[in-house]
Amino acid sequence: MTKSKLLSALDKYKGRDIKLEKQRKAEKEARKRKRAGKEVEEDNGKDDEAGGVKLNRPKEEKRNGIEGKKGGKANGVRKGADDEAQWETDEDESEDEGDSEAGVIDTSRLNDTDSSSSEEDEEEEQDEDEDIPLSDIESLASEDKGDILPYQRLTINNTTALLSALHRIQLPISSMPFSEHQSLTTAAPTSILDVEDDLSRELAFYAQSLATVNEARALLKKEGVPFSRPADYFAEMVKSDEHMGKIKQKLIDAAAGKKAAADARRQRDLKKFGKQVQVAKLQERDKAKRETLEKINLLKRKRQGAELTTTHEPDLFDVSLEDSAAAKPSRSDRKDGRPNPKRQKKNEKFGFGGKKRFAKSGDAISSADMRDFSVKRMRGGAGKRLGKSRRAKKV
């Protein structure tokens, strides 16, 4: 620990959050142990099996303790060693980037990103580097934290070295004509409210580029450099014709799909509506038919029945059809007391009262009736019977 007791006491006096402090301390220890464990392992690999438990992180120790209680001790140790191996691989992965650089890090160069690079507060900054901002840890829900150990990179921001490196490679942009480098930096930083919002983000990028293009266009024109490509300048493009064809096809497909979908929807709506229209139309037609038939029948009847026709018939025909249909004479209205002609006929045919049996059965007269008899047909000389339509034509 770099902090002295006095310093920590001072901190406590200042009223720092003890809980946060503790968490930081645990983190620090874990990191130290990790590093120590790595070194020890490199030194003597066979020590691993015997002292595997010792090298573990605190969480590991606890788990091993449980296992030791449950099973035999040897078993626990072996398991611990297994876990150790697993942990080691993880650490290797996470550390392999910083590993090679760790040797070259010069602590005197450590600076914080946020503060300026003045020399006097360098010691303080070093102390700050040891601390761990807990913002990352606290953003997690408490139950999600689990075994995650907060981990922290060292901040290295060696401003002087950065600037010297920059000056070493920097192009003299200000002294060069614009057409030489064609790069522009916007006046104000592009501000994006929400980076997750795709539309606004892309719009900001677009706006930035567009502003640059407008500026660059003016500059290039001032320098007399050709800017836009003439329509008859053909050369190889970044995207091949094949690729552009694919894109075009994609666009066409998308448009066609959209159109087809719209069409289908319209058709569906039409169908829904058209069905109702059709039904209504059919009903109307049926009604109209019925009505005209009724009128015709009525007129026919009026003609047949002489009594009815004695009244002014021509008037009935052309003028008051509706009236006659509306003023339909009911059965009870008949003056002479006779049923209508149809009923009369039916009564004649089927009989109204009287014997109904054997009316259709043959008797002596009917069997002696030879009007329908044909010798030719009896002999079978008539040839084949024709089809129905031709028979109908013949007769």
Partner: protein, 310 residues
């Protein structure tokens, strides 16, 4: 066609270059990847290669540890910039940008990459035309970003005299800083005159030396995206090329490995918490003297039932 244009415009080019004098911007970029890149990484590399006429592609680098070999490789190909893509685990891509002989080097994590092919943007530009670079003003705010900007300028700004270069500026590359990351976009510049619908005819071309005074900006400029899209997170800046002391390290960067491990640990944490609770309960019971074995025993009380009625 390009040759014809070059020969035509050579005469006025010469007397332009001279007065500029000074240092000439000479850049060549070596583009290559490590082994283990996926097809998307490879396509992205091809896209960038087609956008940068002053670049040279090379075979995949065999090693992932001895990156200093890249310096020799760059020298071999006369390149003073190296743009190296390092693939890890077949999914993570890191982009290294370096000034070849003696640094600096920037290592960045490449995310959200979309190649031209999969984006289906309608924009297109001449292969070999020089882009206009658009930098966010935030690049000038911090020294490490200034270094990164300079490297972008060297790698993405095609120098005037580069081989295979074509005239006209018909695309723009945007570099924006948002959320601590660098977002790169590439747009085609689409010029339309308000009267006409089609891009301006060759008669009114800007080949004329003096722009007309009367109507400075009659044409309507719009952009159409070309692709590819990528996002870079700076991780580390080294002082020399693929080596040397670390002069910047990004504190906020969390490696994708760490993210994945944390996810896994968060899942595993539930078991550990439960077993811990079990242990705690056991200890508590032992402390209260409720366990038959182990734990603390209660002191014998003279008035205990067991003593009285023994």
């Amino acid at each position: 066609m390009a040759a014809v244009y070059k020969s035509l415009s050579k005469s006025d080019k010469k007397d332009e270059d001279k007065p500029a004098g000074g240092k000439k911007n000479k850049q060549r970029v070596l583009i290559l990847s490590s082994r283990g890149v996926t097809y998307r990484h490879r396509h992205l590399m091809n896209d960038l290669y087609s956008l940068l006429p002053h670049s040279r592609k090379d075979a995949k680098l065999d090693t992932k540890t001895k990156l200093y070999q890249l310096n020799e490789l760059a020298e071999l190909y006369n390149c003073n910039n190296v743009f190296f893509f390092e693939a890890r685990k077949g999914k993570d891509l890191y982009a290294w940008m370096s000034k070849a002989p003696n640094g600096p080097t920037v290592k960045m994590h490449l995310q959200n990459l979309h190649t031209m092919e999969e984006l289906h943007f309608t924009g297109n530009c001449l292969k070999g035309s020089r882009p206009i670079l658009s930098f966010d003003a935030a690049f000038d705010k911090q020294p490490h970003l200034r270094v990164i900007k300079e490297l972008f300028l060297h790698i993405f700004a095609v120098p005037k005299g580069a081989r295979k270069v074509k005239p006209f500026a018909d695309h723009v590359m945007g570099f924006t800083i948002a959320d601590g990351k660098i977002w790169i976009r590439c747009y085609q510049i689409n010029e339309t005159e308000p009267g006409k619908q089609k891009p301006s005819a060759d008669g009114e071309m800007d080949v004329d030396q003096a722009p007309k005074k009367g109507k400075p900006d009659e044409t309507n400029v719009s952009l159409v995206e070309i692709g590819p899209r990528l996002v870079l997170t700076p991780i580390v800046i080294l002082e020399s090329s693929f080596g040397g002391p670390v002069i910047y390290e990004n504190k906020e960067f969390v490696s994708p490995n760490q993210v994945r491990a944390d996810l896994r640990l968060a899942k595993a944490g539930r078991y550990n918490r439960r077993s811990e609770q079990g242990l705690e309960r056991k200890v508590k019971r032992g402390d209260l003297g409720l366990n038959t074995e182990g734990g603390r025993k209660k002191p014998k009380d003279a008035l205990d039932d067991k003593v009285l009625f023994a």
